[in-house]
């Protein structure tokens, strides 16, 4: 086992709203190892983005970390001062967001925006910083970087802008790069370029990546390990192979089955009926019970513990309890595996 760089333990985050409190993240624990890519998948509202923003301490004003620890190289970021966080953000841990247009300042040249980062964390200035900015743009595959540093975001295409955002995030060689849906706003051919770039950068710099996405295709292509989130909880975690070929949680089965397969003809997709629960009033038992075809009485009454299936693979489901009757995904057994 490689050494873990980041340890999240029992993280809970709630949002105050005028009609009540939304429990967006309800006890999330995971590790991030050096040099690996961990994907966090889930649907909108599952808490994946809130989890990543908690690590950066970039939560909205009405949000509060209720409990839990976020240990980065031994230091608990959940309790760190804002001043300390400012020295970590952009330098030790960087983040890239879905929409590259809104993460760039439209009134500044892209070079100046990269220099800002270098100035703050590296105390670089003048010609040296400009040269470094151009070098970074070259690293992310932008042609004629010396010319591009002087351009504004609107002069670049969507794919180019995302490359600039990645260059900014990499400016101080961070140990962790958090990518929140980095390719969702891009077209598939551009998405392929960006995923390829992220992979190459990881090989060259050894940065650990947390990839937040809803696209299982992107996960299969880019990640080593996966955590599946549902209603503020990690319901299953494992290596990509364990998750795609030996999934244990019915929600993971459902997710995999609801994707059309490119290489086989199916007449009907297997949909997951219903919708996720309202996290203003989270269910006491398993949050997936209401939509789960295998749900038992105990599922509604009590939240299951994690059952370990290997060193890397565990799932929170009563079906895995030794007392439960054996169930397997009806369509799940051959998920993804066979063509």
């Amino acid at each position: 086992m490689s050494q873990s760089l980041l340890e999240v333990r029992d993280l809970a985050v709630a949002f105050r709203t005028y009609i009540g409190e939304v429990q967006a993240v309800r006890g999330v624990s995971f590790d991030l190892n050096k040099g690996e890519t961990l994907a966090i998948v889930g649907e909108s509202g599952s808490g994946k983005s809130v989890t990543s923003k908690s690590i950066m301490r970039l939560l909205a004003k009405n949000a509060k970390i209720r409990s839990g620890e976020i240990r980065f190289e031994g230091e608990n970021l959940a309790a760190a001062s804002e001043r300390r966080m400012q020295s970590i953000r952009g330098s030790e841990i960087s983040m890239i967001f879905q929409d590259p247009m809104t993460s760039l300042n439209p009134t500044m040249t892209v070079g100046k925006q990269i220099i800002e980062v270098l100035k703050k964390h590296r105390k670089l200035g003048g010609a040296e910083a400009l040269a470094k900015a151009a070098e970074l743009l070259g690293l992310v595959g932008i042609p004629s970087p010396e010319k591009r540093v002087k351009q504004y975001p609107h002069q670049l295409s969507g794919g180019m802008r995302q490359r600039v955002v990645i260059a900014m995030a990499l400016a101080c060689s961070p140990k962790i790069l958090i990518a929140d849906e980095p390719t969702t706003a891009l077209d598939v051919t551009i998405q392929a370029q960006i995923l390829d770039l992220m992979k190459r950068i990881q090989e060259e710099t050894g940065t650990s990546i947390i990839l937040i996405t809803h696209d299982l295709g992107v996960v299969a292509e880019s990640a080593a390990r996966v955590a599946v989130m549902y209603a503020g909880i990690i319901v299953e975690t494992g290596t990509v192979d364990e998750l795609f070929y030996e999934a244990k949680h019915p929600y993971t089965w459902g997710l995999l089955a609801s994707m059309p397969k490119l290489h086989e003809k199916t007449s009907e997709l297997t949909a997951i009926p219903g919708t996720p629960p309202d996290l203003m009033f989270p269910p006491v038992g398993c949050p997936f019970a209401a939509r789960c075809p295998h749900a038992m009485e105990v599922c509604v009454a009590k939240m299951p513990d994690y059952t370990a299936h290997s060193d890397t693979h565990s799932a929170a489901c009563w079906l895995q309890d030794p007392r439960a009757q054996k169930a397997a995904a009806a369509t799940g057994a051959s998920l993804g595996g066979e063509r």
């Binding site: 649907e43 909108s44 295409s157 794919g159 180019m160 077209d187 598939v188 051919t189 551009i190 998405q191 392929a192 370029q193 995923l195 390829d196 809803h214 696209d215 299982l216 295709g217 992107v218 996960v219 299969a220 292509e221 990509v240 192979d241 795609f244 070929y245 459902g254 997710l255 995999l256 609801s258 994707m259 059309p260 397969k261 490119l262 003809k265 199916t266 009907e268 997709l269 297997t270 949909a271 997951i272 009926p273 919708t275 993804g336 595996g337 063509r339």
Partner: protein, 335 residues
């Protein structure tokens, strides 16, 4: 689709163009000389990246945009021809549209019953109040909602439910042809499958014909009988869904297919990816000759000088590329 040859097409598109004046005397050729046919009861998938003109094409078919040139025949009738209000109304009742954003496409101030019945009212399809309500309830049940939803407002529904309301609205006037413009792109994976299954069920029950516009190729493959691929305003390839995925001919289609990440890690590890270089050129000033040549790994001087013809190179498989062109074009490619 085997008997396709015998069937009369429901929609015939011939040399359709839709250009926009963008100021500075420049023209944006959003759709430029596109021809294809859609047969009754089939699902025609239209794919391409943002800005390729697929949505503009969909909207021009239904006369939400006027055609700059070319023709659209719906059941033999010229959609863009001169028409009285009554004639146009009779035509548009038969063609309906479902939109991408279930949040923006429903009027927030109308309740669900009024949203669904708006088309029925416009076309005078319900004799009285009671019949109107009865039809709305039937439609709600058809799309998997129920009577108690009728008096609610759009903000009370989730994205998937809203899309169901949009589908019920389209069905209200009993159309023959539905244009679905990215109907599932804004929905979560598990909800996407619900909506796609609903669309397919309705097609089976009512014999509907769909134009399904999307950028998610795996979903398009699942739902479509035939697929057209667009690039920068033009159609580059058209084939049955199986042929297109098993044997894509156009280099752009090939690149597009290899770019889709497959939710299967073992397959992903083995796969060789053909990465396209660069970005989409601007449709205001598209490349000369073949529009794709600036990103095409096989491009030659010939592609710059001459635009490829739109040819049926195999039965029901059309492509616009010199690699599959006439003998002289193929010879010029080798030169």
């Amino acid at each position: 689709m085997a008997e396709q040859g015998k069937k009369k097409p429901l929609v015939q598109v011939e040399g359709l163009k839709r250009h926009f004046q963008v100021g500075g005397g420049k023209t944006l050729k959003a759709v430029d000389d596109v021809s294809f046919e859609i047969y009754p009861g089939e699902t025609f998938g239209l794919v391409g990246e943002s800005g390729c003109g697929k949505s503009t094409l969909g909207r021009t078919l239904i006369r939400l945009y006027d055609a700059t040139d070319g023709k659209v025949l719906f059941d033999g009738e010229d959609v863009h021809g001169t028409k009285s209000k009554t004639e146009l109304k009779a035509l548009t009742r038969r063609i309906q549209m479902i939109f991408q954003d279930p949040y923006a496409s429903l009027n927030q101030r109308m309740n669900v019953e009024d949203i669904i019945a708006e088309g029925m009212d416009a076309h005078g399809l319900a004799k009285n109040r009671a019949e109107r309500t009865k039809r709305v309830v039937e439609l709600l049940e058809t799309v998997g909602l129920n009577a108690e939803h009728a008096k609610r407002f759009p903000h009370e529904f989730s994205g998937g439910q809203r899309q169901r309301i949009g589908i019920a609205r389209a069905l209200a006037v009993d159309p023959d042809f539905i244009i679905a413009d990215e109907p599932i792109s804004a929905l979560d994976v598990s909800i996407q499958a619900q909506v796609v299954n609903l669309l397919q069920k309705l097609q089976r029950e009512r014999g509907l014909t769909y134009l399904f516009i999307a950028h998610d190729l795996s979903m398009v493959k699942h739902i479509s009988d035939r697929i057209g691929v667009m690039y920068l305003g033009g159609m580059v390839e058209l084939a049955t869904s199986d042929d297109l995925f098993e044997e894509p001919l156009h280099p752009y289609t090939q690149a597009l297919l290899t770019a889709i990440p497959i939710p299967d890690p073992r397959l992903e590890r083995e796969r060789k990816r053909q990465l396209l270089q660069g970005d989409l050129p601007s449709p205001i000033d598209p490349p000369s000759g073949c529009r794709f040549r600036t990103r095409c790994p096989f491009a030659t001087e010939h592609c710059k000088n001459k635009a490829p013809e739109w040819r049926e190179v195999r039965p029901n498989h059309w492509v616009a590329c010199h690699l599959y062109g006439s003998e002289s074009d193929r010879a010029a490619m080798k030169a």
